[in-house]
Amino acid sequence: MTYRITFAVTGRARFLSHLETVDTLLSALRRAGYDIALSQGMKPRPVISLAMPRAVGVESEGDLADVQLVADPEPAVLAGELAARLPEGMRVVAVERRAPGRRAAARVRRVEYRVDVADDVDWEAALAAFETASEAVAVRTAPGKPDRRVDVKQFCHSIEYEPGRFALDLELTEGGTARPEEVIHAVAATIGATATIERLVRTAITLAAEPVGVET
């Protein structure tokens, strides 16, 4: 049976890498006594898939993992047993049964972030300038590759600001997406300022609707 686990990674656990996060979930499930289904083939692997990798250092409140277990526990039971075995900083938000369908990773449409910023920028003015600008360019650099200019504004579904804090809702399209820090730096840059990001939390991942229903 496949389960979707919604989980949070906060505090120092944000420094875990994507692979470490996956392994931590798997070992917590094993400690709870669940056998994880293995893939077919020469080198069977546990069947688990996270909707979206989390960058090291970014906290999350609603990450999604689809995992296939050999057993068929009640979601509430599984949630309780898993919650008791996760390390500090990792927390179960919800567990639900899933009918077989496309992997969550293939259906991510929007990602929401909460970004705490230092107050050394006139953010109201910067956001107003950002909203009227025709584009907001971030330059991506990678070793051995030419710099890439990306208009991050095209990926912004919404940006809300309250003192010291942004709420970003970013789209994931076939053309790519924007990183939240790129957006914040681009907003500051519209008035010639430099942003200081104090905390970055991925608050939600929104998936495209799936024709196959959800069993609960």
Binding site: R12, A13, L26, A28, R30, G57
Partner: protein, 588 residues
């Protein structure tokens, strides 16, 4: 700096370094005892992923935390990017459990598992803000104690430690902990340690021999069930049960073969119980039955069968197997998923195997290779050493020939050609407390010529040859049998930038060369130095239990090319390790 401010600044630094999970702690089964009166910092002076896999520190972690008033907290050597950032920010080295400065510990216990971590010992002390030299420490500093197998020659690190604990920690290290708990005065603590038979305090000189602590309750006391589960970056992510300690095969190059005598075995029912318990509390999907030679363990079959009966699909690994058909079949039975197997003939000719006391024959090796391929293994690794005493061209040619022979066997057994042979040859480094302790290492030029010959002569089709880095081997040789005069060299090399010497990308041979040159010598001169049999050796005051006379006799036997039997089956060879309750304890 307040604790809160330190933590905020550490978090800020972690945003900027590679693999920050190395420093965060909080792993499953970590123990936190905030109210404990005595803080013991346990340090493995290498990266987290290496240190967290060390079984000895897991045992010690439990041993300390089992005491009601003591807390064990772990510390590893920060990777250079982190170390540099900490220095830049003025941050002290901190423990993983509480992020408290290591300098606040009552006892800093550093395990010495390998010579190539010596520069990291100084890196750890410096980052912790603890004076490098014991003589410069004062009341605010922790007692810095060393342990582990490389403490068998304390000389090259002697000025940097307040004390060396010699031997196995279970039981005996409780006395050290009790001394630290009983006294708060630094000099009084050191006095108490100096009175312990298993402790060497360099500041007190070599007034008396120091005995190796030997744990006699190995088969009675249970193995730690609850071990810290590392994040996935660890080199070994698996549960493990030490099924047997010690080995009396008597391989003359092997430090562990002397240092952990006599043989003590754990009964199969305990192994099964401990293994299952550890799997349950760690969530690992692999269990390793560890020892110096697991196929020699009397209860190996009942242990495997018992575990497999309960967990049929478990990935069970048996490292360090003898070259024989029995172990190959055992390993195959234990782990159907594994496609590769390692056999360690160590030397390719009968003459050399007699010199090093590796009592196996060519026929046994070839049968083992055939059994491995028949059992379905597609990757066969053969492990050898070069530069062994009195090695001739024939021995090196023998390694090439055996690689080719293994390929021939593979082609016969697996006509589909789906197999590979991996020949690995390391450079022999003579170690203290072994029959070869008087030998010098072979000259670098000779070793280089042998490596070049093997590269030229070994066919490349279906055979992969890997040879160890000569530079690090020579340094290991220069440090392994070094005296106290080498302490200045180690400090100078560290000041010139040496750290993480076991990591080829970090190795700074120039720093070491410069440091040895400043002391009027060289890496090669020290590594190739031969001791005379009447010479006083830097580690003579450390008593392993195996007598120097026995080692000397074994050295002469090696010159006569005569192997010595294993006392488990061939009668006592009078090595000196057994006395009173200390003796071979096999399960049957």
């Amino acid at each position: 700096m307040s604790q809160g401010l330190i933590e905020r600044r550490i978090e800020a630094v972690l945003e900027t370094v590679q693999k920050p999970s190395r420093y965060i702690g909080g792993e499953v089964n970590q123990v936190r005892k905030p109210g404990a009166q005595t803080l013991v910092a346990l340090c493995y002076p290498d990266a987290y992923e290496v240190g967290i896999s060390n079984q000895a520190l897991q045992i010690l972690y439990k041993q300390v935390n089992d005491r009601p008033h003591a807390a064990a907290e772990r510390v590893y050597c920060p990777w250079p990017d982190m170390a540099d950032a900490m220095r830049r920010e003025g941050l002290p080295l901190f423990t993983l459990e509480s992020w408290r400065p290591v300098r606040e510990a009552d006892l800093l216990a550093i395990t010495l598992q390998a010579e190539l971590t010596y520069s990291n010992v100084l890196e750890v002390l410096d980052l912790a803000g603890i004076p490098l030299r014991a003589a410069d420490r004062g009341d605010g500093d922790p007692i810095v104690i060393a342990g582990g197998p490389s403490a068998s020659n304390p000389a090259p690190l002697a000025p940097f430690f307040d004390a060396f604990f010699v031997g196995e920690s279970e039981g005996a290290f409780d006395r050290i902990l009790a001394a630290i708990e009983a006294e708060s005065d630094r000099s009084r603590r050191i006095e108490l340690l100096a009175a312990d038979p298993n402790v060497y305090v360099p500041a007190h000189g070599r007034r008396r021999p120091v005995e190796r602590a030997i744990y006699t309750e190995f088969g009675i006391e249970t193995h730690p069930r609850s071990v810290v589960v590392p994040y996935s970056s660890a080199i070994f992510s698996r549960a493990s049960v030490e099924v047997m300690r010690g080995c009396t095969r008597g391989c003359r190059f092997c430090h562990a073969g002397t240092w952990y005598r006599p043989v003590r075995e754990r009964p199969a029912d305990q192994v099964i119980e401990a293994g299952l318990a550890q799997l349950a509390c760690t969530g690992y999907d692999e269990l390793s039955l560890t020892s110096l030679a697991t196929s020699d363990y009397t209860d190996v079959v009942p242990a495997i069968e018992g575990i497999k009966r309960r967990l049929p699909t478990l990935h069970l690994s048996l490292p360090s197997n003898r070259v024989d058909t029995g172990p190959v079949a055992l390993t195959a039975a234990a782990n159907a998923r594994q496609s590769s197997i390692t056999l360690a003939p160590e030397a390719a000719t009968q003459r050399m195997r007699d010199i090093i006391c590796k009592t196996i024959t060519n026929e046994m090796i070839e049968n083992a290779i055939e059994s491995a391929f028949k059992a379905g293994y597609t990757s066969l690794k053969l492990y050898f050493m070069i530069g062994l005493p009195r090695e001739t061209h024939d021995e090196v040619q023998g390694i090439v020939d055996l690689g080719i022979r293994a390929r021939e066997i593979g082609r016969r057994v697996r006509p589909d050609g789906r197999f590979s042979v991996h020949v690995s040859a390391s450079n022999f480094v003579p170690k203290p407390h072994t029959p070869f302790q008087w030998e010098g290492m072979e000259a670098r030029e000779q070793l280089a010529a042998k490596q070049a010959y093997m590269r030229r002569s070994m066919p490349t089709r279906q055979i992969r040859l890997s040879l160890h880095d000569l530079r690090t081997s020579m340094l290991e040789g220069a440090l392994a049998r070094a005296g106290e005069e080498t302490a200045d060299v180690i400090e100078a090399a560290w000041r010139l930038g040496a750290r993480f010497d076991a990591w080829s990308e970090m190795f700074r041979e120039d720093a070491w060369e410069q440091a040895f040159a400043a002391a009027g010598t060289s890496i090669d001169e020290r590594a190739t130095h031969e001791f005379g049999e009447w010479d006083e050796l830097p580690w003579d005051h450390v008593r392993s239990g195996v007598s120097k006379e026995f080692l000397l006799d074994e050295w002469w036997q090696s010159r006569a090319e005569v192997a010595t039997g294993d006392c488990r089956w061939d009668g006592c060879a009078d090595c000196g390790a057994c006395f009173g309750p200390v003796r071979n304890k096999l399960v049957n």
